[in-house]
Amino acid sequence: MSLIATLARLEAVSTGRAQPAATVRHRHLSTRPLVFVPLITAGEAGAPLGALVGTDRDAPRLLAVPQPRDRDLRFAFLAELADVVLPYIDGFADVVEPAERSETDPETGKRVKVEVELCADAPQLIVPSRAGIDLVRLLGRSTRFRRTAEQDPETPFPAPPRVPLLGRWLTHFGERARVPGSSLLLAMTDVLGRHWATGQSSLEDQHLGALLAWIAPPEGRSGAEAAQEAELARDAAGQLLCPPAGPATDPAFDNRLLAPAIERYDRARTALAAAEDGLEADDRLGALTAAEREIRALVASRTRPTWDAVWQGLDLLRELPEGSRVEERWTRDRWSFTGHRDRVASGEPPQPRRDDAVTAANKLATREREQSRLEAQEALDDPLVMAARRLSGEAFAGEVVDVVMAYSESKRPSPRPLVTVRTDDGPHLGERARAYRSLGGKPQTVEFVGYEDGPEGGLLVLRVLDRMGRGKEPEPGSVPEKGDRLCFTLFEHEPRGGAKLPDPEETPWTHGGPPGEEPAPEPADQVTEEDIL
């Protein structure tokens, strides 16, 4: 955390309100995001208890699993979830625009432009917290290898149709969320925490209710008070007034409300199974429905406050103007979405459990590249982020006090004007260090020549190196003028990736060697008796 961010937190403590940590919005927000507020059962891996899901803030779809340990009910939940999520995703898959992509021609080996489709927009999934992203990934993992009766009539416990497809999409969203700056799947606490500094630690910012209490405290109350209440206040029955954003539930809720309700449901189900005649069965079916309705009401009562909080967070974020380079990053998300759409359509098998060496190395390289791109773009979009970079000596801003025309020493002299800039910042400039400024959205490179009157004077002499056109005289507007206020960065605006990795067929033996024949589709997880405890 930079000192500027620390200062913002301290100001938040003293004013009782969260302070801005950004002046623009650094993440894309869809006009129609799909909000997903899941709950899980404690102690079991990927056993959903219920969820609220939908694109309409006033009409979420409530899903509940009255007995989370029952495999059939779990599948029913996933099938219902697929009924909401997949049509939403499909809605973006068909609206395309033409785009170009460079590919290697298999015959000549040259890079050529290929005309391809790019989805005009992409779906966006929003979960309350970081743990929600992990759950999306876990649900993806637990369902993408499942087999439906259609795929494999022999499979014991076939999954409902479309559930494996849901798993592949959730896996894709979960993987994409690991790429810095991506917005296909966002955790509300992360995005809010990026834009506001609260008067509590980043650990405590993981609580969505407390975070929102700092950003938008209720009338007449301080953020600290409201946040503490959101964290801890309980009603007379010992239940949290602001339930945790999940997916884990509060143990007090599990023990006092949920466990008895599930027990009643189990009893009603056993009673129904033991019914001896139609009349009795009718009665007992009524009891079972009532028990199920009770659990649904419990799930709704714990998810609805979080659902409303997520939408409140979206409202707050929409008030911020979007950063100018956010759109560019969203285009990358659209490419990612289009790519996965194509892989699904072409019948590729689900994402493997473990990536091969080349895929894994590529993923890591992408994440590193996107991380440095994100850092550069956020700074260029947002003076507050740039201020932190200036403080750390990675950028400097100042006024141009002198411009002297000069030329390079070559057969065809090109303009190399010398610009003197007065700055209060202390950039870490080495001899002939490069710095960059944004000129019409493109980076212009300058070279550090020296200090006019020693390092303490704050007068830097810089030589402009490019973006001045081809002629002897620089193009108008391409050279800074006296009196201009400029900001230079020592980091590149468009970071380059590392060396290209070999194709999978060329994997060196140190990394397992080339993959063998067409890999067999991975088998589904073995179903064991133990799945149902």
Binding site: G46, Q200, L391, L533
Partner: protein, 357 residues
């Protein structure tokens, strides 16, 4: 109010914050901190869902079923492939009266196993004593395995899943820190046996496989955690020293009125940091105090580290505004620079003129 024994989890947490005298003395005295926090008016938020409890117990029972056949098979496969497979394992009865009795019984069983090498022995819920800041803590690992070569392995059974061979790193880390405490305690026992058996530094972490209830295991190297814990435990201020500094007649009974209790608790200094929230029952109380004092550590340890000698929110803000502090102090100078840059950035943003096009 019965004394609450120190467990490995508490010790690992204590070792994570060795400067906290409050925690050291309360734990050392066996005070039930959850009850104390309730009496102070800042109840802890710890609790375990009965679903997790049931599942955890069912899993542990399954792992240890049939005299630990499955557990020993995993230990053989993951840790000790060179030795003979465990066909006939000894599972000594460790029941005894009280923690001291159980510790003695465990030590006896370990000595017996050392006296008759060449076989596998499984100790189900043994009890180990560890000297912590001058008072003994009794620890109960899930199991300890004695290998045919006479070496000992700590077994940790957890109910979080090992998914495609990988588990949640935070949970594995917690398990490793906990196991490191057991390794330390076992080493103390081993030092008393002649010749001293080797305590293995790779523990066996047993977890459910993927989405099933089938056990699978992984060897986890806890050398680092062991070294850290050993150092922190050695650094712990001796409890008598803390107790000597207390006013005469200090009592932490949760039956006392809240005011008196608060005074008693306040008599011992705490070292609150946000990490305490997930490790200590008293954390909410300490957080309230820390916030009321305006301590910058309540925003996180790294924040404190950045600010040099300035420890309260108002000090820092006054220094940043130029109302206080020595401008030659590098921390103060950096703060003023940060404050100026921040004000400039926010000012330009509100005028909607981007300084850096």
């Amino acid at each position: 109010m019965p004394a609450k024994a120190l467990d490995a989890r508490a010790l690992a947490a204590l070792a994570a914050n060795p400067g906290c005298r409050r925690r050291a003395i309360l734990d050392g005295a066996g005070v039930n901190k959850a009850a104390l926090a309730g009496a102070l008016g800042s109840p802890s938020a710890f609790g375990q869902s009965q679903f997790a409890l049931v599942r955890g117990n069912a899993f542990e029972a399954k792992v240890k079923a049939d005299g630990g056949t499955e557990l020993l098979r995993l230990a053989h496969e993951k840790l000790d492939r060179g030795s003979e497979p465990p066909a006939e394992a000894r599972v000594p009865d460790l029941t005894a009266q009280g923690p001291q009795g159980r510790t003695a019984r465990t030590e006896l069983a370990l000595r017996e196993a050392a006296g008759a090498p060449g076989a596998w022995t499984l100790l189900d819920h043994p009890m180990l004593a560890l000297d912590v800041a001058g008072s003994p803590a009794f620890l109960e690992p899930d199991a300890v395995v004695v290998h045919p070569d006479g070496s000992w392995t700590v077994v940790e059974i957890k109910s979080f899943p090992l998914l495609d061979g990988a588990a949640d790193p935070a949970k594995v880390g917690a398990a490793a820190r906990q196991a490191a405490v057991y390794v330390l305690a076992l080493e103390q026992v081993a030092a008393r046996v002649e010749p001293a058996p080797r305590v293995r530094h790779r523990i066996l972490l047993v977890c459910p496989k993927d989405f099933s209830n089938l056990p699978t295991a992984s060897a986890v190297d806890v050398r680092k955690q062991r070294a850290v814990t050993a150092r922190q435990l050695a650094r712990l201020t001796r409890i008598e020293e803390i107790a000597d500094a207390l006013p005469e007649g200090t009592c932490f009974s949760p039956d006392l009125p809240a005011e008196q209790l608060t005074r008693a608790v306040e008599a011992v200094p705490a070292a609150y940091a946000p990490e305490c929230l997930s490790a200590c029952e008293l954390a909410f109380h300490c957080r309230d105090r820390s916030r009321a004092e305006g301590a910058v550590t309540s925003l996180g340890r790294p924040v404190r580290a950045e600010l040099g000698g300035l420890t309260t929110v108002e000090d820092v803000l006054a220094a940043a505004r130029g109302e206080a502090g020595d401008p030659d102090d590098p921390a103060v100078a950096a703060l003023r620079r940060a404050a100026a840059l921040r004000a400039e950035a926010l000012g330009t943003a509100s005028r909607e003129v981007a300084p850096c096009p």
